[in-house]
């Protein structure tokens, strides 16, 4: 296969654009539920990305790039993201029980804090902490809270881990636990990297130096998060652009992966401002007799109102990149009198929550510290896809998730949940009405079409006065259509205008638009494609006209 064809296949393979030898638009296995990982990736080697390079590149190169307006390339024919080594559909397509949500990624037992043996300093993240084994001999990465901001970092990390797990990302098993100094010992082989670049044995003073940067509880212990050591071989971070050249299964450029683009929405919701490759991790794991690269959002601790190790996040966090020309010039020219939203908004600050607010939050204006290419490439349909997932967290679910942060102050917990709920609603109102929000279309054997409007379902927009559907027979071999008729309905159901073909393999196309006072985007049709089988009609295609 030529490089040209390979690129075309990669571009089209899950977007429903590839035709078979017979020229059919939809394959028999559409819509794809899982992105296959067919090849052994055991040759993948550890790589890294330097902080200096990544920040510089994102601020001074990526920031100036224009989005390619390319549709996400890993979506299936019904505009959804198949499960993969990157992503697992969880919250939206199925109902997750409250117990599952609260459990999140944690499938194993929590650490046993009766004894901690430090094996080395903490190597990832800015929070002070250790790498240590618990009383059961299992390795954990321990991170503590910032003095004066007790419970903040640990609560943020645990809640964010569960939210991002529910959203579909691979997450590290993370628990809140405690360190008692009297039960903390330095392992025989524990070392610390010194400023001279050499490793020397860890001393008691090294432990003290770390613990002095940790919030101490009234009983003298230290509340920490414990992240379980990931299985497999660590390969280092993944990048938000390009592909891993040593992973045969990584064929879609990362900036065109919808779940990575969608971090612009999920990041805005949770204030995941430290959105960089350095906070991700690839591991090589054995699945089905072959090695596969699994991709993790490893460090989601800099979320909500806390930015460890400094405590509360900086005032402009989430509002501006680290460097932006326009606001800089504006402030210089006005001597700072040209105020930015982050300078005037009101914050209700709890030490365990930090600076987390919803009043000044504008989803489209939210910015991480530095822009990734995937962040820039997000399209309205990506944002819609993401916003549906955000909207799927109901109030009770979010309050249950907030409770997992183990806030000792009920008011802080309530405030935290309230802000999450308000930010969720703003995201829904921003992104759900921005495209034609028809979802979950079903066509019965009798010709009854039912669908949902994601925007009105989430109370993000008023219902339109009605819907208009144009029905066609669809020839999967040629792509030709033959009109069947039009139908209109005030609600979310309508009946076919005439007899639909009943033999297996036949297909119909239904184009749905909203009528009346609906937003302009809703006048652009959603194209639905149903295939007939012995059991009835199955949705195999969904295109939102751009």
């Amino acid at each position: 296969m030529t490089r040209t064809l390979r690129l075309a296949v990669v571009a089209a393979v899950t977007a429903g654009t590839l035709v078979s030898g017979a020229g059919t638009r939809f394959f028999g296995d559409d819509p794809l539920g899982r992105e296959p990982e067919s090849r052994d990736a055991s040759r993948a080697k550890p790589t890294d990305i330097g902080l200096l390079y990544e920040i510089s590149y994102n601020l001074f190169v990526t920031q100036s790039r224009q989005p390619s307006n390319t549709r996400a390339r890993n979506v299936n024919t019904i505009d959804e993201v198949p499960d993969s080594s990157w992503f697992t559909n969880r919250i939206l397509p199925r109902t997750i029980s409250a117990a599952d949500l609260v459990r999140g990624p944690n499938v194993g037992a929590p650490p046993n804090p009766d004894r901690w043996v430090i094996t080395r300093e903490k190597s990832a993240g800015a929070s002070p902490g250790f790498t240590a084994t618990d009383a059961g001999g299992e390795t954990w990465f321990l991170s503590c809270d910032t003095p004066g901001w007790n419970e903040g970092a640990s609560a943020s990390t645990v809640v964010a881990t569960k939210i991002f797990w529910a959203l579909g990302y691979n997450q590290v098993e993370t628990f809140i636990t405690r360190i008692d100094r009297s039960r903390l010992v330095i392992g025989d082989k524990a070392t610390v990297k010194r400023p001279n670049g050499k490793r020397t044995p860890m001393s008691a003073d090294d432990v003290s130096a770390t613990l002095e940067r940790c919030a101490r509880s009234a009983d003298g212990s230290y509340r920490v998060t414990a992240g379980r050591l990931l299985p497999g071989k660590v390969l280092g971070p993944f990048r938000y652009d390009g592909t891993r050249p040593d992973d045969p299964n990584d064929t879609v450029e990362h900036q065109h992966r919808r779940e990575l683009r969608a971090l612009r929405v999920f990041g805005a919701w949770t204030n995941l401002s430290d959105l960089k490759a350095g906070n991700t991790l690839d591991t090589l794991v054995e699945i089905g007799g072959k090695s596969v690269v699994r991709h993790y959002l490893q460090d989601v601790g800099s979320t909500f109102g806390i930015a460890p190790p400094q405590g509360p996040r900086d005032w402009d966090d989430g509002f501006e990149y680290f460097y932006e020309g326009d606001p800089l010039l504006k402030r210089l020219a006005s001597f700072g009198f040209a105020l930015s939203p982050w300078q005037t908004g009101h914050y209700t600050v709890y030490p365990s929550v930090g600076r987390f607010e919803a009043d000044n939050f504008e989803p489209r204006a939210w910015k991480p510290h530095t822009p990734t290419l995937a962040y820039l490439e997000m399209q309205p349909d990506d944002a819609f896809w993401a916003a549906r997932r955000v909207a799927a967290f109901d109030d009770a679910t979010l309050r249950a998730l907030a409770h997992t942060g183990q806030f000792s102050d009920p008011k802080a917990e309530a405030h935290f949940a309230d802000v999450l709920i308000q930010r969720r609603d703003k995201i829904a109102r921003t992104y759900l009405p921005a495209v034609n929000p028809i979802v979950e279309a079903r066509l019965s054997a009798a010709g009854e079409l039912n669908f949902e409007n994601a925007a009105t379902w989430a109370n993000a927009a008023p219902a339109p006065s009605g819907y208009h559907a144009r029905w066609f027979q669809f020839d999967n071999a040629t792509g030709e259509t033959r009109p069947i008729g039009d139908t209109r309905a005030a609600g979310l159901a309508m009946t076919a205008p005439g007899a639909l073909p009943s033999s297996a393999g036949n297909m119909v196309q239904i184009d749905i638009t909203a009528e009346g006072n609906a937003p302009a985007a809703w006048q652009k049709p959603v194209h639905l494609f149903f295939r007939r089988s012995a059991d009835g009609w199955t949705l195999v295609g969904l295109d939102r006209e751009r």
């Binding site: 064809l5 393979v13 296995d29 080697k45 700072g336």
Partner: protein, 396 residues
Amino acid sequence: MLAAAVALASTAAAQDETPVPDGRAAAIEQAQAQKAAHLHEFEPNKVEKFLDQVEQTLLSGGIHFHPFFDSALAGGGFTLGAGYGRHVSSYNIIDIRGSFTFKGYKRIETAFLAPRLFERRGSLLLVGGWREATQVGFYGLGNENTSKNDRANYSFKQPYASGTLDLWPTRKLLLLRGILDVAKWDVGAGKGDEPSVDQVYTPQTLPGLGATPTYVHSQGTLALDSRPGPGYARRGGYYGISFSDYHDQDGLYGFRRTDYEATQHVPLLRDAWVLSFHGEAQLANAANNQTIPYFMLPSLGGGSSLRGFSSWRFRDRNSLLLQAEWRVLANRFLDMAVLYDAGRVASRRSDLTTAPLKSDYGLGFRFHGPLTTPLRIEFVKSNEGLALVFSSKAAF
């Protein structure tokens, strides 16, 4: 776009007779099989390699050569310099460094820094070196009776050795500092366009003219320091008092000096603005029957005090400096500041507060990190003209 992609795929397939897959998963697997034949390790580009190397060097303690912008004495003009630092243990550093200016100022010194003593409650800095300043300005004593046109120059060469011990008994806030240094002042005729001091003054009209004292200087400082760091701060303050004894080995030019210093940063509007205030008073007293030589008198003027005036512009037994800045955060790495300085020197302490102050105002830009200010550029206007300040240190 869809049609184009389909056509592209079909055409390419037809050209190399690759079988078109019969399913979506099969198509993906085919692409993966194709990629599997061309796997290679990730290869960073040149820029990434370079920046990674810089980062590794900075983090691993592998940085040895560094720029050094401290001239022999303030007022030497644009300074070029370099140093070579090396860890001699996990934390301790020896640094050999030198600088020169186009006015012929030279400094060469070796420093030993132990930043982590007494379980991180103290640090020790030992410095030994030699410096030469060729044309240090002297404008006469006092405020009112001097003019910038009165400038005369002197020079000096000086071997010196000093030790500074900082102690933070409570790890933060309370600072105790002790300094002991020995320096020989070999003062001579000045160079440059202005006359030399010995052409303008006599030993009778200028105390200490012709003196070459050797001082043993001891100093004790008690301070409360709540700033995140002295190199850059947007909040916190410093309040300190220092007592110095300059003991002349010959018993002719000994004196004592008391320094009072206060700095406070007041953030406004979420740190977007910071009102910063700084005050410093230096009060010197000659030891019994001894004289304070003119080159050791408290002074004002230059890029870190009265910035609109030349370095060493005002000298007398006592000095008072008051500074205020309105700092505007442009972004995380750049601040702009409107600044105002006022101060005076006086032979009598009471005159510090009762007589008029010299003042200046200006505009500054500071490129900074969280705790350091590598570059400070200021344009400062006084009644003696416009001064341009370049510095690699914070103003205060």
